[in-house]
Amino acid sequence: MHPAHTRRLLKEIQDYHNEPSEHEGFKDLRPRDDDTITSWQVVIVGPRDTGYEGGQFQVTIEVPSGYPLQPPQFRFITPICHPNVHFHTGEICLDILKTAWSPAWTLQTVCLAIHLLLSSPEPTSPLNCDAAALLRSGDLLGYQSLVRMYTQLYAQQGVTSNYQG
């Protein structure tokens, strides 16, 4: 009998492969290697009509042994300019990954929530103060161009320069 987190992750893998429907928000969700089922990676796809469009953002997922009673840890590896993502550490400020976690979420649905966060930032709880300040001051043009610049610098296809802070 597998431990609870392994049992759940195996089901999630199967579910993901059974329904390879349009996950247009993310792709390549899988364990990083064959040896461990608790370290995953995924590519979040920049949403259309945002400064992230055309960007492919590498995200790592660490699954604790208490999963799914405890939340997984998601972290951007590709640098991204977003009010709720720490530019240097890639930490994501999203309530469902912390105080509002529920085992009703799966790795897949969290990926969709992160994709959604890219188009709907929460400037009131910033991890990137500069981006949040632009957004809060109503300088949408400045905000969009800053986001687009970082997307082009780090997250365009073919670009492999991952930030290692």
């Binding site: 609870a4 049992r7 579910d15 105080t99 529920s102 009703a104 709880s125």
Partner: protein, 281 residues
């Protein structure tokens, strides 16, 4: 607490404040058992030595109640106390127990109907039914062993929290399924799905009346909540302690034959409380 270095020049965000609060609560409560042993009501009176109105209420309670069982104040106390009280009320009675097991198994339909994938709840449901089933079997041979097993199960985090998770998901599913009935009672939140995600399914988020109504209706279980609020009016002679039936008076009476759960409510917290004559309740 967040692992990143916070810029000291800016004020903390709402999330950081909430995380900090949760870490304080966790540090404060993690030494407390998830569910304690039964204690006589006198133990409760000791807590309120200085408060005349609370003591008068507790004095009144001793006429009808004999013991309490404390539950950890981690935001899950309602679900945990309710589940334990429910299992305690049914496990030694084969008819009630069979009915409770059937209710639990059938409740999965409600989750599926509102779109929960079985992979997110089946392990938790299995823990909930396995625990009750084992209790039932143990109870047949030795009621004393069953009591000990019940306490031990609810003190084991994986078991106890799995049952809490399932009841949270069921409460959420029931509210979503009947959202036309319940939406008018949500203050300031026009979106049932968002309410359920943030206020029902999220671990550690406390319950309000709407949660109690939804869960007791989803399971068809009678719940009585004894309110210990220390209100000065309570010490007026002859005024009984306030008891609220859930989901409402009629349904509570109608469901009583399948077992009754009685909880003690103090502002912000639920514990179990035991009547002198459980069968006559």
């Amino acid at each position: 607490m967040s692992s990143f270095q916070r810029d000291p020049s800016r004020s903390p965000t709402d999330l950081e404040i909430l995380e900090h609060q949760q870490s304080v609560v966790e540090a404060h409560t993690s030494t407390q058992l998830l569910v304690g042993p039964q204690e006589p009501l006198a133990a409760l009176a000791k807590e309120y030595r200085g408060s005349e109105s609370f003591r008068a209420q507790i004095e009144r309670l001793t006429q009808d109640y004999q013991a309490i069982r404390r539950c950890r104040g981690d935001g899950n106390c309602f679900y945990r106390a309710f589940a334990m009280g429910w299992y305690e009320a049914v496990h030694s009675d084969p008819r009630r127990c069979a009915q409770a097991l059937r209710t639990l198994e059938e409740s999965a339909d409600c989750l599926q109907q509102v779109g929960f994938e079985s992979l997110v709840f089946e392990d938790f449901l299995k823990t909930a039914t396995d625990t009750l089933h084992t209790l039932q079997c143990t109870s047949r041979d030795s009621p004393a062993d069953a009591e000990a097993l019940l306490e031990q199960s609810f003190q084991t985090p994986e078991v106890s929290n799995s049952i809490v998770v399932y009841l949270r998901m069921l409460t959420s599913a029931f509210l979503r399924q009947h959202q036309d009935d319940y939406l008018p009672f949500l203050e300031g939140e026009p979106d049932m799905v968002r309410f359920c995600t943030g206020q029902v399914e999220a671990m550690g988020v406390e319950s309000e009346e709407i949660h109690l109504i939804a869960l007791t209706r989803a399971l068809g279980v009678s719940l009585r909540v004894v309110y210990l609020d220390g209100s000065p009016r309570a010490s007026e002679s002859g005024r009984p302690v306030t008891i609220h039936p859930f989901p409402n008076a009629e349904e509570c009476a109608a469901n009583a034959s399948s077992g009754v759960v009685t909880l003690l409510y103090r502002p912000g917290h639920y514990d179990l409380i035991y009547p002198n004559h459980p069968t006559s309740q």
